[in-house]
């Protein structure tokens, strides 16, 4: 499973698309294969390709297993009469029909605050809302039972748009605001002003493995939960809340998810709670696997946004003042919308500085599914605001958008401080942009495009760019903590457990590399184990790009504690000082003539009655936030990145295509360039999907009609630009004290796809292009509609 960077496959194979990893820093301990900085592949890669990697639905089924299915509301808003379970109970194989009255604890699955029901009770607030859990001997029996229920719902008028929610002041939480200076006066004083309005749609996560949980009842009210979740601790809490038991009666385990992207943060919790309820009521193990349609109907998505803004600027494109409203569609309940709008409003200026501004973020309540975390968590939506402003100002001033953006870059001649008081690194902003521009051959490409556009009757090519600054840390300061548990056994093998979850992002191998580096051993020695609330308690979700930052340090702390004890044992044995003992190449050594194999030292430590097990804990230092003033240092550091994309548009049909993309992403000193490259590429393509082809379509009654891949189109292989060149920024170790000076990578590169949206605007030359820029939106924008 090991692969030194030199053995990376030739990226230039015939027909293959190009991508390069040039950010591979040399490992700190070059002899510790698989230590930090090595481009190791995903620890499960070969088990993935052979089909041996077990996902939750592949686990051997416990004897007596029952299956659950959900009955979902067919109505977006209405008064629900008590449901008659008889039609379902009458069917063969149906074991139980569970309604709100069957919940022994609280019918409340709110991840933040309270008051979000698991099963609708008296009031239905969106089409697709769970009404009942039907349990059957087989999955088909449960599904048939759920379909047999005939809920009586007296319809109420639904609120289905952000604009309508704003008009009614329908909020899930009060508006948030960030301001600096006197925006109104600065707008009035600016030489020129323009107004803009646009929308960005939501996004379905479309993790390939749908939501699933299995609950196995134990003795004395205990329950063991297998859940495909990014947040085992929250599953534990919500299950306990619904069952009315203590947290210590619920054990949650997850080995891997088939994708998460934020969709298995809060939504996994209620799926598990529904399975747990069924297990409690039947006394038998119960599995709940949502069908794709039920999953898309009943679980939250990326928040759609509506933007309205006024900018004041001068002839040189300097933006002097900005007044903007970012309105998020929260759906029917709070979920994590508070955090999403916080990140949107703190990322609304992107990498730019505006001296006077007034930003408002609205959290609109509508009768749709409750929107939730999705890779970027409001950051991508926030960043679109400034990109729209830059493009409109550029058009109005007769300047290239890139010139306007650069004129307003934070730092340098402009202010470096965000309006909430944290400084951006202007040098890195300018550097990533300069490198992306050079990589793309910007000027030559511009000339080529102009020549093409002059000769083709209806195809138009366009060039666009993006520069991002993304703050890393959970917006909720207290969540920036992590724990780990490391055991060394007497044969020198190591067992690693931490609070982070593996959803494909390569967290497990990265943290294993950290531990391998500490012990100076190969990662092959380290057994990566399933995340469990029984091993590491009170964890934060694997989210906000913080997985390796937090869990890497926690594992480092645990491993370092054991290493110190082992060093003391060796030091005593050899009669040297503990700090003379070094760990490298699978050996403990001292001076030039003392050496012991790592496993031998572990055995010796055991014989000397020294503990070879330790927990590690980490909390991110130096972050704080004052809710009252909306100022502070909410982020440990920022990640930067830049992209250039070229597109072609058919002005007769609106069909379009991304022809090339050049990306530069700051990962600090990458822990694993192979994994980080995969995150950059994957996030970019997922961002392209959000901005260009993934369209959630509701009918006039509030039914989402794009409930599967036949109607909801995520990017396919042909949608990836044939020229895709990714570079990790070189020689830029993190300036904050991150784990081995690496930087987070999960979310930031998703914002790079904004370059494609900008390129489409460049190609068609219109003022407004709502996202997703489907062929329809492009053509209708060209037609001025």
């Amino acid at each position: 499973m090991k692969r030194p960077p030199a053995a990376a496959p030739d990226r230039g194979a015939p027909q293959a698309q190009d991508a390069e990893v040039q950010g591979a820093d040399r490992p700190l301990q070059p002899n510790a294969r698989g230590g930090m900085g090595a481009a190791l592949r995903h620890d499960s890669a070969l088990r993935h390709t052979t089909g041996e990697a077990r996902f939750l639905d592949d686990l051997p089924e416990p004897p007596g297993l029952l299956h659950a299915a959900l009955a979902l509301s067919p109505v977006a808003h209405g008064r629900l009469s008590p449901i008659d379970p008889a039609p379902a109970r009458a069917l063969p194989g149906v074991v139980a029909v569970l309604l709100p009255a069957d919940i022994p604890g609280r019918n409340d699955i709110a991840p933040a605050g309270s008051g979000e029901v698991m099963l609708a009770d008296g009031l239905v607030e969106y089409a697709g809302q769970p009404l009942a859990v039907v349990v059957g001997e087989t999955r088909d029996a449960a599904l048939a039972g759920a379909a047999a229920l005939r809920p009586e719902i007296a319809p109420l008028p639904p609120v289905l748009s952000i604009a309508e929610a704003i008009a009614r002041e329908n909020w899930v939480l009060p508006p948030q605001a960030i301001s600096r200076g006197d925006a109104a006066a600065a707008l009035a004083a600016a030489p020129r002003r323009i107004f803009g309005e646009f929308r960005a749609g939501g996004q379905e996560h479309f993790y390939l493995e749908g939501q699933i949980a299995m609950a196995v009842p134990g003795e004395d009210g205990d329950v063991a939960i297998h859940s495909s979740t990014q947040h085992p601790t929250e599953v534990q809490h919500i299950v306990a809340r619904v069952l009315g038991c203590a947290y210590n009666q619920v054990t949650v385990t997850v080995r891997r998810m088939g994708g998460g992207f934020g969709g298995k943060e809060s939504n996994a919790s209620w799926v598990a709670a529904a399975a747990a309820l069924a297990a409690r009521r039947t006394g038998r193990p119960v599995k709940l696997r949502l069908s794709r349609k039920a999953d898309i109907a009943a679980t939250g998505k990326r928040h759609p946004f509506l933007y309205r803004w006024t900018a004041g600027f001068d002839a040189g494109g300097r933006i002097l003042a900005l007044d903007a409203t970012l309105a998020a569609d929260a759906g029917h309940s709070l979920d994590m919308t508070g955090g999403v709008v916080f990140r949107a409003i703190t990322h609304a200026l992107g990498c730019c500085d505006v001296p006077a501004l007034s930003l408002r973020a609205l959290a609109c309540k509508t009768n749709t599914v409750s929107n939730t975390a999705f890779r970027g968590f409001g950051g991508p939506q926030g960043a679109l605001l400034m990109e729209d402003v830059v493009h409109r100002v550029a058009k109005a001033a007769g300047l290239p958008p890139e010139a306007v953006r650069a004129r307003n870059f934070a730092g340098g001649e402009n202010g470096a401080e965000t309006p909430y008081g944290q400084a951006l690194e202007g040098d890195l902003i300018r550097r990533v942009w300069a490198e992306a521009k050079t990589d793309s051959g910007w000027d030559a490409r511009r000339a080529e495009i102009a020549a093409f556009n002059a000769q083709h009757p209806y195809l138009r090519r366009g060039l666009g760019s993006m520069v991002l600054a993304f703050g890393i840390s959970f917006g909720q300061t207290h969540m920036n903590q992590a724990g780990a548990l490391v055991h060394v056994y007497t044969d020198g093998s190591i067992r690693l457990n931490h609070g982070g979850t593996e959803m494909g992002q390569g967290l497990f191998v990265k943290v294993a590399q950290v531990v391998a580096s500490v012990f100076g051993v190969d990662t092959d020695r380290i057994r990566i184990t399933a995340t469990s609330t029984a091993e590491v308690p009170n964890t934060s979700p694997t989210a906000a790009s913080t997985g390796s930052d937090l869990n890497g340090w926690a594992a480092h702390a645990a491993a370092s504690a054991i290493r110190s004890r082992m060093a003391a044992v060796a030091a005593k044995e050899w009669g040297v000082a503990p700090d003379e003992v070094a760990f490298a190449d699978g050996l403990a050594t001292a001076g030039g003539n003392r050496a012991m194999e790592f496993g031998e030292l572990a055995r010796l430590a055991y014989l000397k009655r020294v503990s070879l097990s330790a927990t590690g804990f980490y909390r991110t230092p130096d972050i704080h936030w004052d809710r009252a003033t909306m100022r502070g240092k909410p982020f440990f550091y920022f990640s930067y990145g830049a992209a250039v994309a070229e597109v072609a548009v058919d002005t007769l049909t609106g069909e379009h295509r991304c022809l090339s993309a050049h990306l530069v992403q700051d990962c600090g000193r990458s822990l694993n360039p192979a994994v980080d490259l995969g995150q950059v590429e994957g996030a970019f393509v997922q961002g392209m999907g959000w901005l260009t082809c993934e369209e959630l379509w509701w009918d006039a009654e509030g039914h989402l009609r794009t409930l599967g891949p036949s109607t909801y189109k995520i990017p396919g292989s042909r949608d990836v630009p044939p020229v895709l060149r990714v570079r990790l920024l070189e020689g830029a170790p993190a300036r904050s004290e991150t784990i081995f000076r690496s930087k987070a990578v999960g979310e930031p590169p998703l914002l790079l796809a904004t370059a494609v949206w900008n390129a489409l605007k460049d190609a068609i030359g219109t003022d407004r292009l709502d996202a997703p820029a489907t062929p329809e939106r492009v053509l209708m924008a060209l037609h001025g509609r």
Binding site: A45, T50, E681, G682, Q686
Partner: protein, 462 residues
């Protein structure tokens, strides 16, 4: 007397227990009774490809199919290979599996077994990497490493397993009968006797009822074993296509004047769908968005239809009656589709506009056949899908073009006239206004296709 479904699974013959539901999906059987959980369910609608397995042909061909849509009764006599059945020379991982793993082509790994199977088929079948991947969605990697790996696949040269000889059959399960007639006469008798039965060809549409909607039809008549329905003959006058011939077998024969139809067919569904789906099925369901219908209307396709009462021929445009309604009587089956060969000098264009280029259902589709004589349009057959309750020709636009000079203004005029011919709906694939505007754009683009064949006609030609 009921038969047992027999198939070859990963090289070994298997006879399913009597009473196994013949409409159980292959996916449910693999993950359930067969205990092979490597094959995943991602969508149960034949779109994500996580459940891709490969049918091994006696000729060594490898057809990837969606196990979620394939019904057990359909697979009688077939050889199925799953991800567990891929093994390398020493029993370790197959080279295809190693290549994908070593190329960082997996992240979460849930789509990966399906991608490995698509890769194993592609290693033998070759062709375009993107066509090979169109039926497999990956949400993590952004595809680049997968595309790289697909470009470097090598066929393992493995011989196909011996396939059992199977003829007609009849499978029974509680409340279900599945007929697999092997002669046309038997088929017509069954059709006359069971008018409400599922008439199952490839099952890419009906399979959804079993997979997603969990239906158990009482009577199924499966068409694939009747030789007449598998015909494929080319003569100077055109092509005759058996109604139950899978698209995948038709595609290589769409050459010469039919090449534009082939290019469009390569975008119909995915390799998985084209391995099962049939032209007859597309005509039988008569969906207004069936991709094949507009080109077939433009070409003047003629159907041969049979029943116990005899055989008849009918033009496709007379066969289509309305929204999912056809002139097929309850006792009839479509035997063949005849595609007349376009005259020398005729131009055929087949268009499909969708949100995603590959494996999407069109918002608008079109088939255009122009006969150009001396700089004038001597004849025009224009047909559209997605523009009304059924695929249909556009008489007002045709009239505008017929006899006109080959000039942009005439095509713009036809585009204006098109509004009289169509009545599109608004739905998730496109608003009525967009559908009309895009269809009009296709007519304008037709001028450039004809007049300036040297120019790239669309973004994917760049």
């Amino acid at each position: 007397m009921a038969d047992r479904i027999t198939l070859v699974l990963n090289g070994s013959p298997v006879a399913l227990p009597a009473g196994t539901s013949p409409t159980m999906t292959l996916l449910d059987w693999l993950r359930g009774p067969a205990g092979l959980t490597g094959t995943k369910e991602g969508c149960a609608e034949g779109d994500c490809g996580a459940c891709t397995v490969v049918l091994e042909g006696a000729d060594g061909s490898r057809a990837p199919v969606n196990a979620c849509l394939a019904l057990l009764g359909q697979l009688h006599g077939c050889a199925v290979r799953t991800v567990e059945g891929l093994r390398g020379p020493e029993g370790g991982p197959h080279p295809v599996q190693r290549l994908l793993a070593e190329g960082d082509a997996t992240q979460c790994g849930f789509c990966t077994p399906g991608i490995a199977m698509a890769a194993w088929a592609h290693a033998r079948e070759g062709g375009s990497v993107h066509e090979a991947l169109a039926g497999n969605l990956c949400r993590c990697t952004g595809y680049r490493p997968i595309v790289d790996a697909f470009a470097r696949l090598e066929d393992d040269g493995a011989a196909p397993p011996a396939l059992p000889a199977v003829g007609g059959a009849r499978f029974e399960a509680p409340g279900q009968v599945f007929h697999r007639p092997a002669t046309l006469a038997e088929l017509l008798e069954l059709r006359a006797a069971h008018r409400g039965a599922w008439l199952l060809a490839g099952g890419t549409d009906l399979g959804l009822l079993a997979s997603e909607h969990r239906q158990r039809p009482p009577v199924v008549i499966h068409l694939s074993a009747v030789p007449e329905l598998q015909a494929l003959t080319a003569d100077t006058g055109g092509l005759t296509i058996g109604a139950a011939l899978p698209y995948a077998r038709l595609l290589p024969r769409l050459e010469g004047p039919f090449a534009p139809l082939g290019a469009m067919l390569a975008r119909l569904g995915s390799r998985q769908i084209r391995a099962m789906g049939t032209v007859g099925g597309n005509l039988g369901t008569a969906s207004p968005i069936g991709d094949m219908l507009p080109p077939l209307l433009a070409l003047g396709a003629v159907l041969r239809i049979a029943s116990v009462r005899g055989e008849r021929e009918q033009r496709l445009e007379d066969f289509l009656l309305g929204y999912r309604r056809t002139a097929l009587a309850p006792d009839e089956v479509i035997l063949t589709i005849r595609l007349p060969r376009p005259a020398a000098g005729a131009v055929l264009a087949c268009e499909k506009v969708s949100k995603r280029h590959d494996q999407d259902i069109s918002a608008v589709s079109a088939g255009f056949l122009l006969r150009i004589e001396g700089g004038r349009i001597a004849g025009a057959r224009l047909a559209f899908g997605g523009m009304g309750p059924m695929a249909a020709r556009a008489p007002a636009a045709e009239a505008m073009l017929t006899g006109a000079l080959l000039a942009p203004a005439c095509f713009a005029g036809a585009a204006d006239e098109l509004a009289k011919d169509v009545s599109p709906l608004s739905d998730w694939r496109g608003s009525a206004a967009y559908r009309l505007a895009a269809a009009q754009g296709l007519l304008r683009r037709l001028y450039w296709r004809v007049a300036r064949p040297d120019l790239p006609a669309e973004v994917h030609a760049l």
